[in-house]
């Protein structure tokens, strides 16, 4: 027998093993307890946490398409609100506007699909989000630079246009948006202070609208004027 063969034979002696039953019963005897077979041997705290995270992410993914009034909608709304919370003021204002546009899209979808039971909560969500967005814009507008102002005003204009179409389909009067009156007022006053409006007739009209507390229409007129004239550089040389 060569040395190589001998080593190979020695390694083969590894086949000597105790019986499995004896190994289990001895372990139980030593540790003094019966080990009940676990239903899920792989289930440990780390696995549980990972599973929960996956379930949460999966639910969040499903909730992405949820509409106001549906059970998963609060989850979607919370995720969006939380993501806004960590943004700096400038970005927060932009993101709030985008969110308002999304809410309007939801309202449009509900209108197209004729989901009447979702209409009321969707309308409420849209007015709330739009109000929040205007509030955020009013906060940052005095310090914003011209390109940003243009961007905000252009976006507000787009939302107003889209809103008109959606509301026309739903036969909703803009007056019904009374919930955003405070925010509209705040934004109108900010724009009047920060932007230069040279059209005297328009200024008079806006003044009358404000006296009648029709801030939504006043805002719309300002936005249309500013979008057309793009005269923001006059205020911020």
């Amino acid at each position: 027998m060569t040395e190589k063969e001998l080593i190979k034979n020695l390694r083969q002696l590894r086949k000597v093993r105790p019986s499995k039953d004896w190994v289990i019963t001895t372990k139980q005897d030593i540790l003094g307890e019966t080990q009940t077979p676990r239903l899920f041997p792989f289930f440990n705290p780390a696995f549980a946490a990972l599973l929960l995270l996956l379930i949460f992410l999966g639910t969040l993914e499903i909730a992405k398409d949820a509409l106001p009034g549906s059970p998963l909608y609060p989850l979607k709304k919370t995720a969006q609100t939380v993501s806004l919370f960590f943004l700096p003021p400038q970005e927060k204002a932009k993101a709030s506007l985008i969110l308002a546009e999304k809410r309007l899209e939801e309202l449009e979808k509900i209108s197209k699909e004729n989901l009447t039971q979702n209409l009321s909560p969707a309308f409420k969500e849209y007015t709330q989000t739009k109000g929040e967005a205007k509030k955020e814009i009013a906060k940052i507008l005095p310090q914003a630079k011209d390109p940003e102002k243009k961007e905000f005003i252009s976006k507000i204009g787009q939302i107003h246009e889209k809103e008109k179409q959606v509301f026309a389909t739903l036969q909703i009067s803009p007056k019904e948006l009374s919930e955003t009156k405070t925010q509209d007022k705040e934004l109108v006053l900010t724009l009047l202070k920060t932007e230069k409006i040279e059209d005297e007739a328009l200024l008079k009209e806006i003044e009358e609208l404000c006296q009648n507390e029709n801030y939504s229409l006043a805002l719309e007129k300002i936005v249309i004027y500013l979008s057309k004239n793009q005269n923001l550089d006059k205020t911020n040389p």
Binding site: M1, E3, L6, I7, N9, L10, R11, Q12, L13, R14, K15, V16, R17, P18, W22, V23, T26, K27, D29, I30, L31, E33, Q35
Partner: protein, 165 residues
């Protein structure tokens, strides 16, 4: 099961076969190997609950060696031939192959049992269990060079014994 039990349970699962084999090649009996192996782990479990064991395999092999020594001292080196001698062969091999392998391994096993204790230990730990020289040195409480010399001499002696047979 508490934390200590869980930790020891893992140690048990990792070393039970190794310790059993280590004892089996010295006592050549399934029953006695089972008794001494369970006693080794019982002592280890008691020590584990009492104090921190720095080198678990070294502790287990040392305990097993002491128990084997005690066993031979008490029985005056009486060896029991077990009725449950394990077979070394693969069940899928032909009867002829099984017979050849069994007889070859039986010869190696018998020759191994005739070696000095240190040489036996060195061969079992190094070739059977695949433990590195550094760890064997800790288990046998010898220097690494001593262990290397032991392995070399043990293999040479084993070959000679097999040639003589």
């Amino acid at each position: 099961m508490d934390k200590a039990s869980r930790q020891f349970s893992k140690i048990y699962d990792k070393y039970i076969e190794k310790i059993y084999r280590f004892i089996y090649f010295k006592v050549n009996s399934v029953e006695i190997s089972q008794d001494l192996t369970s006693e080794t782990f019982l002592k280890a479990w008691q020590a584990f609950q009492r104090e921190k064991i720095n080198n678990i395999p070294a502790f287990l092999y040392r305990t097993a060696r002491n128990l084997i020594t005690d066993y031979y001292r008490e029985k005056a080196k009486f060896q029991t031939v077990s009725f449950q001698n394990p077979s070394f062969v693969d069940p899928n091999q032909s009867p002829q192959e099984k017979a050849i392998i069994n007889s070859e391994l039986e010869r190696v096993k018998k020759a191994l049992a005739t070696l000095e204790e240190d040489q036996q230990n060195a061969l079992i730990l190094y070739y059977l269990e695949g433990i590195p020289v550094r760890e064997i040195a800790q288990i046998l409480e010898k220097s690494e060079n001593n262990v290397r010399v032991l392995i070399h001499r043990a293999l040479k002696n084993l070959r000679e014994k097999l040639t003589q047979v």
